[in-house]
Symmetry: C2
Subunit: 365 residues, 2 copies
Amino acid sequence: MAKLSERKKKILAAVIEEYIASAEPVGSKLLAEKAGLHVSSATIRSELSELTALGYLEQPHTSAGRVPTVLGYRLYVNELMQRPDLSREDADRINRSLGDPAQGQERMLDHAGRLAADMTDYPALTVCSQPPDTVRRLDLIYVDANTFIIVLLLGSGTVQNKLVHLPFSVEEAQLRKLGTVANANFCGVTEAEIDAERIRAAERAIDDRMGLTAVVAGFVIEILSRCHCARAAVSGGAKLLRQPEFQDPAKAHSLMDYLSDAGNLSGLSFTDAAGQDIRVLIGPENIAKELRDSSVILAKYDAGDGMQGLIGVVGPTRMDYSRVAAKLSYIAAGLSRALADSAGTALPGFGKLMLTDPDKKPGRP
Amino acid sequence: MAKLSERKKKILAAVIEEYIASAEPVGSKLLAEKAGLHVSSATIRSELSELTALGYLEQPHTSAGRVPTVLGYRLYVNELMQRPDLSREDADRINRSLGDPAQGQERMLDHAGRLAADMTDYPALTVCSQPPDTVRRLDLIYVDANTFIIVLLLGSGTVQNKLVHLPFSVEEAQLRKLGTVANANFCGVTEAEIDAERIRAAERAIDDRMGLTAVVAGFVIEILSRCHCARAAVSGGAKLLRQPEFQDPAKAHSLMDYLSDAGNLSGLSFTDAAGQDIRVLIGPENIAKELRDSSVILAKYDAGDGMQGLIGVVGPTRMDYSRVAAKLSYIAAGLSRALADSAGTALPGFGKLMLTDPDKKPGRP
DNA sequence: TGCTGGCACTCTTTTCTTCTGAGTGCTAAT
DNA sequence: ATTAGCACTCAGAAGAAAAGAGTGCCAGCA
């Protein structure tokens, strides 16, 4: 790929920025006035025609202005565009919005997604991958003769539980034994390692003839398998309809349908964001055919404990890459920070209580 | 409101059904052929013009066919339409889809919502109100010196938990004491009753100077307050775009935006479904202005323990009321059944295990 | 050699006009 | 009461013409 002259670059950038703003093919005259280089429209015309020959621009039809190609966008994103600084208000808004860490990870992600959608005016998606988890510790709480609770503390620090009703009765002592054995057998191992073999071993160890061990094992397996698949969510899907390229309901429908199935996103987008902090996928660079006419911008965030996730937006290829990238990376950073805070936070719930009764605040002296 | 002749009713019903199917104004000629009464189009024309005068129909313009008014739809829904029986496949599909109760309430609702959206081709909404809940039992699980888990068993049977990290250390014995006191003070009471007074009393009882009691209380309050507000969700929002009345992106956008904010729905729709099993809100009968041009059909379901919820769909006023009502009420019934099952189910997790290893199945002989 | 103004040409978009057809309301006859 | 017939209305389709935006190319100028 031959190096472009400075002027060509400047013109290309101007075309793209203009097109992003107006959604209409850009002509030489407009560029001559706006692009800041003091040459005539004829000169620009010849430059445009060369850029077109090189594949960075194209014409919808002979007598129309130029529109960026995917190659053009790519060059723009890689080399030409400069990330603008966030405005004071935007930065404030993000900080304020992600400021309160006392909400739990899921809510937080949801919140960040909405924020991203609102601030960029594109639908936002959040993906949170989880590495295969293990049980760190398992407790059985006796409720009554027919009922107990299983509580799992996972390696990642989250806690899961389930209330179990039995069609027969169990004694507390028996449950305690079960708990010990289950801890010994099901902790620290991956989902795959909990096989029938292991379960039977545990069963024999406490002479369990009623399948209690299997219940516990079943729950452990269910939880481990649920955790390790990535969770994805989309907010603000309706925002697509604002974009001129989605005025055609059929197009909008197909993309929105695709987005509304969270499963589609969880797998796909994650592998795409290998190295960088922010990743831009333009049009056909997307693997999913539903996204071939759109672009996706993804920012990586850190969810603590080595877990990481993505927050991003989907829009037409004519997307305001620089603005969105700036906002997303700021949001991702904020999210990482907030999640780190919330994981290590001491005395959660404190804030809320003080709110209820600020004067007589309980707590340490 | 004067009683309509049988023939007028038949014609009105025919107009509405035809309009529902075609989305286009219905003319006298078509009716003469299809409506099954053996009269000429001229006769029908005069009937139509009377129905128009009575306010059941209207004309978009002089030389167009007739379109139902809200009044017309209302009469149709109240008196004219007959709920068709579900086709065998549809009934099967619903039963199969809601058959597996081992998923947890939230997933189940979500699942039912998707099902409703898929089967009706309109966006579906689910609302689940919860009566104020109380803690039935509270456990604190000691993990290590700086960490413990709070487990709440609620009156409704759900279990909630939280992992707490402390900036100082606690002994196991101390935690046990705390558990006892917390059980004594925070169980069986509503959120409002857990005030600073009560918390301080508990604190004094175990000489808690580190605010541990407050942490536990904070969590209890958080959970109780979270449970008691209704949860709402929408699935298949994109399906709106298939309806001709939402070809205009602006219209679609405003409604979809409204729907995507779950808060809007939770409050509103619930109060509307007082008596009946199924409730139809046509156009301006909706309170929310965003729904004034649309209709909502709601079916009530029973979530066990006196809790109840709504499942419904949103669509244009030109909605296939009878078909949708039939499906929704079947789904609602199935959902009630499934939720009842899942609450009382014995040995959850069993099925899964057997699937993994059908030969060497563990369990009771 | 690089830039510019000028000009003919192309093609979309807009606007205006005309035409068509579905559907009505009325009337007179059965 | 019902029907056939007929004149009338009006939205939407189809077509023609005009407008406009932008290009490519060329000849002249620094």
